[in-house]
């Protein structure tokens, strides 16, 4: 043994758990950000999440129907151990953390000092700072399943309450936090009211359809909604989800299989109807953003629709271009969870979707399959301009906001 024996420093965090501080959890991402100089890059995360049910007692105070609000508040106060009032979260939510293996998916019980801003603002800022993200759009989690709620009026009341809570309590807390107001899509009239009432609220940069639902997106009753959204200049987003009780997905005996297919399937169906019914022809300035389905499904749908359209054009008479042309020009895609196992496949996908202009970075933090910004930055066959576009500038252009550097 020589004299150069080094004494180790024992790491302060020996095992990550649900109490671990986000900044400790994401320390490697912060180190990557430092090495890669991300402070000089505008990085926008179009899809991160918070767990709205942690603050459900606050959300339900914003329910506008006094009777339902009273019921909800009584329930939250008195029903010990019961799930949040009014929600219909899917069975699969219980499996997301892989049996406790991925604690940040299980919960974020880290300490947050009481302060001027909401706890969710603090948690979001911690993630932004760690990953050097300048703008982060937050979505709810169990509410993504509201499209399957048997009571349409409950979808209306709860999405409205959430939108109000979010834009009153969370987004005003930091101008780097953005939101895509939830549309109660099963009630087109109320969805239009959402656009009227929330388009100009703090932090609202667009509107979300939670994709887990069985309403056809091309139904006539949505045309007014699309026109209204187009007139705001803000995009409409389709945030994917799963539905394990869907008869075909119910044959999957693992969350892995059900999730892999389910998160793509809902958007595959909606995209097919969106394109073949000529929504981009009817509303050429309406930008659609397809969120959290990964990317591999896009070339699949492009090729399937192009191939079939050639033989059955009379069934899609509004099209003036090939289906894939609309998907490449009128649609934007978030990358997460980006399928990286095949470089050949990923490269072809980037080319087919015109990633340099249409691809938007998304982390999905704190969910189990989140992607840190390095997933884009470390692609060696992308030039720097493309990386900067995907990591932030494409979002700034698509959503129409100033690319302000927060961490420089």
């Amino acid at each position: 043994m020589d004299a150069n024996i080094i004494s180790p420093k024992v790491m302060p965090v020996q095992e990550m758990d649900v109490y671990t501080d986000t900044r400790d959890y994401l320390a490697p991402a912060r180190e990557d950000a430092r090495k890669m100089g991300f402070a000089d890059w505008f990085i926008c995360d179009i899809d991160a999440h918070h767990l709205e049910t942690v603050h459900w007692h606050e959300v339900i105070e914003h329910i506008e129907d006094p009777v339902v609000r009273h019921q909800a508040m009584t329930y939250q106060k008195e029903r010990f151990g019961a799930p949040p009032y009014g929600l219909n979260g899917d069975l699969g939510l219980r499996y997301q953390d892989v049996g406790g293996r991925i604690p940040h998916q299980s919960g974020q019980r880290e300490k947050v000092e009481e302060g001027d801003v909401h706890r969710d603002v603090v948690l979001t800022r911690r993630a932004m700072e760690a990953m050097c993200i300048d703008k982060m759009v937050v979505f709810p989690t169990p509410m993504l399943f509201l499209g399957m709620h048997p009571q349409v009026e409950m979808e209306v009341l709860l999405t409205r309450a959430y939108n109000r809570w979010l834009t009153e309590r969370v987004t005003p807390g930091d101008d780097g936090i953005g939101a895509l107001a939830l549309l109660p899509f099963n009630s087109p009239e109320d969805a239009c009211r959402t656009v009227e009432d929330f388009a100009d609220k703090p932090g609202v940069i667009g509107f979300t359809v939670t994709s887990t639902r069985y309403k056809p997106v091309h139904a006539n009753e949505y045309m007014r909604l699309y026109r209204m959204i187009e007139e705001t200049g803000k995009p409409i987003a389709f945030h994917a989800g799963y539905h394990w009780q869907d008869p075909s997905l119910a044959t999957c005996n693992s969350f892995l299989g059900m999730h892999a297919l389910g998160f793509a399937w809902c958007n595959i169906v909606h995209m097919t109807n969106w394109i073949l019914n000529g929504i981009p022809e009817r509303f050429p300035n309406l930008k659609s953003v397809w969120i959290e389905s990964g990317l591999a499904w896009v070339p699949f749908v492009m090729q399937r629709l192009d191939d079939q359209y050639l033989m059955r054009m009379s069934e899609a008479p509004l099209l003036k271009q090939m289906p894939s042309d609309y998907m490449r020009q009128n649609c934007w895609y978030t990358c997460q969870p980006m399928e990286k196992s095949s470089e050949v496949g990923l490269k072809a996908t980037f080319e087919m979707i015109n990633a340099k202009t249409q691809l938007l970075y998304a982390s999905d933090w704190p969910h189990f399959d989140f992607d840190a910004p390095r997933v884009i930055a470390e692609i060696d066959w992308l030039d720097e301009e493309a990386k900067r576009n995907i990591l932030g500038m494409n979002s700034a252009r698509c959503f129409g906001f100033e690319p302000k550097l927060k961490w420089k």
Partner: protein
């Protein structure tokens, strides 16, 4: 260039066609009004016998002022020949694939036609 005398004008009705074989080539001759169009009997998609397919007018979708769909209709001004193999539709006047009209996907190979003294000719 060989010239084929196809038929008398009156033998091809308006909106109709005749498919011939001459000099080793199969050709469809289509009549729309007083105009005649000649296309090779090979679909550019997979080589199907396009000219032996059926003729359909173009299908359009009717939108109201609110951009709601009010069903489908035929465009009487636009006539397609439909390949009997896979259903690809081509505009009889231009030979272009009739869908995705803003982009040129594929087209039929054609020949010039001529009408002289009441007879229809194709120059191949």
């Amino acid at each position: 260039m060989p010239t084929i005398r196809v038929s008398q004008v009156s033998e091809i009705e308006d909106g109709g066609k005749i498919v011939i074989e001459a000099d080793g080539e199969q050709i469809g001759i289509f009549r729309i009004g007083d105009d005649f169009y000649a296309w090779k009997n090979r679909c550019p998609h997979q080589g199907g016998p396009i000219c032996q397919g059926r003729i359909f007018n173009k299908v359009i979708e009717v939108l109201d002022a609110d951009l709601k769909s009010r069903g489908r209709d035929y465009d009487e001004e636009s006539t397609h020949i439909v390949c009997p193999w896979h259903g690809l539709e081509f505009d009889i006047r231009t030979g272009q694939f009739a869908g995705a009209s803003d982009v040129k996907i594929m087209a039929l190979d054609g020949y010039p036609t001529q009408v002289q003294d009441g007879d229809v000719y194709v120059i191949i």
